[in-house]
């Protein structure tokens, strides 16, 4: 193959690897399809949902029927519509929390791992300390300080994620920094920023990608918990966790209300986790040998 077509070949190879990955891991494929469907549903929520999520009616706590696929809640709002409108909230919350976590964790982790010495010691101690606090409790405390609401509570969750991510990135950076190819690059006269962006980050980032995928599930569960506790999405806006809270209040009358949002959370979290696990085994260096 000629060198000119290198880019094309690489792109082709990358695409075939992607296909091979999904073909080899059905669970990952199903998860990816599910998440893509959820994402498009979220974008098209207004079109898909038969009712406005906030529209109340006299039909209170109705069982599922043709008019209301999943019945209605205590204020007569269509549960299916609320479920569909809760999707974008949950996805937004997950991605926000993880982004905040990466934005804070990544620089600190790289800094501590690359520089070492007392900076590393200091950062590591802070990480240890924050990790000593049960994460949800800390998230609640931070939410309380920042002010109650979905965005604030997810920023709080992100802050709580950041030390774990920082620790992972720190270890990865330290590993890659000790690699011979980094030494080799130094002898070629690479400057430190170039070294970090060209060699260290690309090689350190893989486990972070896996962790981020897994954290999306954790963030989703955290959002559900916080909204359930009334610290996240504020009524009347729908979110899965908040729907569970309402369903719980009327559980003795309409116990079936708690299934739809619960399964929505469960399946989405399962999908993120399955994707993360699949990525992990895909990127596992001990397995890559064999291909």
């Amino acid at each position: 193959m000629s060198v000119i077509s290198e880019g094309v070949v690489r792109r082709k190879r990358r695409r075939s690897r992607f296909v091979a990955w999904l073909a080899g891991d059905k669970r990952a494929a199903v998860s990816l399809v599910f998440l893509l469907a959820l994402a498009s549903l979220s974008v098209l929520a207004n079109v898909v949902a038969p009712y406005s999520p906030l529209e109340q009616s006299m039909d209170i706590l109705a069982p599922p029927s043709a008019a209301h696929l999943l019945g209605t809640d205590d204020l007569g709002r269509d549960v299916f519509s609320r479920l569909v409108h809760g999707g974008p909230m949950s996805l937004y919350a997950s991605f926000l929390a993880v982004s905040v976590g990466v934005l804070i964790g990544l620089p600190f982790g790289v800094l501590a791992g690359y520089l070492g010495g007392w900076i590393d010691t200091a950062v590591s101690r802070v990480i240890d300390t924050i990790l000593s606090c049960p994460s949800i409790v800390l998230a609640i405390a931070v939410t309380g300080a920042l002010g109650i609401g979905l965005t604030n509570s997810m920023i709080a969750v992100g802050i709580v994620f950041s030390p774990g991510l920082a620790r992972l990135i720190r270890v990865q950076t330290m590993i890659v920094k000790g690699e011979l190819y980094v030494d080799a690059a130094r002898t070629f006269g690479l400057s430190t920023p170039r070294l970090v962006f060209r060699h260290i980050l690309p090689n350190a980032i893989q486990p972070v990608i896996v962790q981020v995928t897994l954290l999306l599930a954790t963030a989703l569960l955290a959002e559900a918990s916080l909204s359930f506790l009334g610290l996240g999405v504020q009524p009347p806006h729908p979110s899965w966790g908040q729907m569970l809270a309402r369903a719980y209040a009327y559980m003795e009358i309409a116990p079936e209300q708690m299934y739809a949002p619960g399964f929505a959370i469960l399946f989405t979290a399962l999908a993120f986790n399955a994707l993360g696990e699949s990525l992990r085994s895909l990127l596992d260096p001990t397995r890559r040998r064999s291909d």
Binding site: S132, S135, V137, A145, S225, L229, G241, M258, L266, N273
Partner: protein, 318 residues
């Protein structure tokens, strides 16, 4: 215990000190996250200027930051975590009154999780890629993804409301009526344990698989030991270290997860305390709860470190 082990324990104790100091910084710093004037936020939108000034003085917010911190620290060292803005009662009393309820369900959940997850993990690791393994790993991935409090709700719906075997809500004191306390704690503990079981099973499985495919297990096979002996003597002792780490992690997570569980079962624990006080902006209480929980986790980690140094001869190397 050898002198070396004692020295390691002493060393670990020393290392705990800076973490606790940092924890006081972090807990104290929580208030600094409040956007704008904390006193105004705490007082609420409708508060009068006098009330704001009053709160500012009460919390010492008019002092320089380092004085505020020292003041808070001075109190904390003597066991005084300030007073609640709402009730006016000492925070420490309220926390200590509720802590047993929380710890009871957490410890029950942990014991439950360990006693279910360890056999499951071993079973899966010894049947890698077999049907048993696939079943166990599926259960485990379900356990990681399922919201704890939803499991609690389902349990309440079925066992408490439908069957009436357990009380739906509330808690009882373990010292006054142990049987009733455990009866109340059963459902919350089961709900809490779900993610712990999953986590411990997964980690134990992968750690045991790694040990069983290690070079030294090959040596053990080469010297003619039976599979059973390799698993029960060498496999478990090597894996116990991972197990300890995971248990520490799960303890921490479970302690956090109780917050939602306490809400489901209306248990008067620290979790519900932190939620109500965060909602009501009762910051001294929030700080107090967080501080006490951090201390508990730090102590738990210390215990695990000590166990570690007893179990793993390599840790004593310094």
């Amino acid at each position: 215990m050898s002198r070396r082990t004692l020295r390691v324990i002493g060393w670990r104790l020393l290392q705990v000190v800076p973490v606790i100091v940092l924890a006081t910084f972090a807990v104290f710093g929580l208030l600094q996250l409040v956007p704008g004037d904390p006193a105004a936020v705490i007082a609420g939108e409708t508060a009068t200027a006098e009330r704001i000034v009053q709160i500012r003085e009460m919390l010492g917010l008019d002092l320089p930051l380092w004085q505020q911190y020292l003041h808070w620290l001075g109190g904390a060292v003597q066991g005084d975590l300030s007073t609640s803005l709402i009730t006016g009662l000492p925070v420490i009393d309220e926390v200590l009154r509720r802590l047993p309820n929380t710890l009871l369900i957490v410890v029950c959940a942990l014991i439950l999780a360990i006693s279910i997850a360890v056999p499951l993990g071993i079973l899966a690791a010894t049947h890698v890629d077999g049907r048993v393994d696939r079943f166990v790993t599926s259960i485990a991935s379900l356990g990681v993804a399922v919201p704890n409090f939803w499991v609690g709700m389902i349990l309440v719906g079925f066992f408490a409301l439908n069957l009436g075997w357990f009380p739906t809500t509330g808690a009882a004191s373990l010292t006054e009526d142990p049987a009733r306390a455990l009866w109340h704690a059963a459902l919350p503990a089961i709900a809490l344990a779900s993610s712990g079981i999953a986590e411990i099973t997964r980690q134990l499985r992968s750690a045991l698989i790694e040990v069983l495919s290690s070079q030294y297990v090959r040596t053990l096979q080469a010297k003619g030991l039976s599979q059973g002996r390799i698993l029960w003597r060498h496999g478990l002792k090597n894996v116990s270290l991972t197990l300890l780490t995971v248990i520490g992690l799960v303890f921490n997570r479970t302690l956090g997860a109780t917050v939602a569980i306490e809400a489901v079962f209306a248990i008067p624990g620290t979790g519900s305390l932190v939620v109500t006080s965060a909602t009501n902006k009762d910051f001294p209480v929030v700080q107090g709860v967080v501080f006490v929980l951090v201390l508990i986790v730090i102590l738990c980690n210390l215990l695990i470190d000590i166990l570690y140094s007893v179990l793993d001869p390599r840790m004593n190397k310094q």
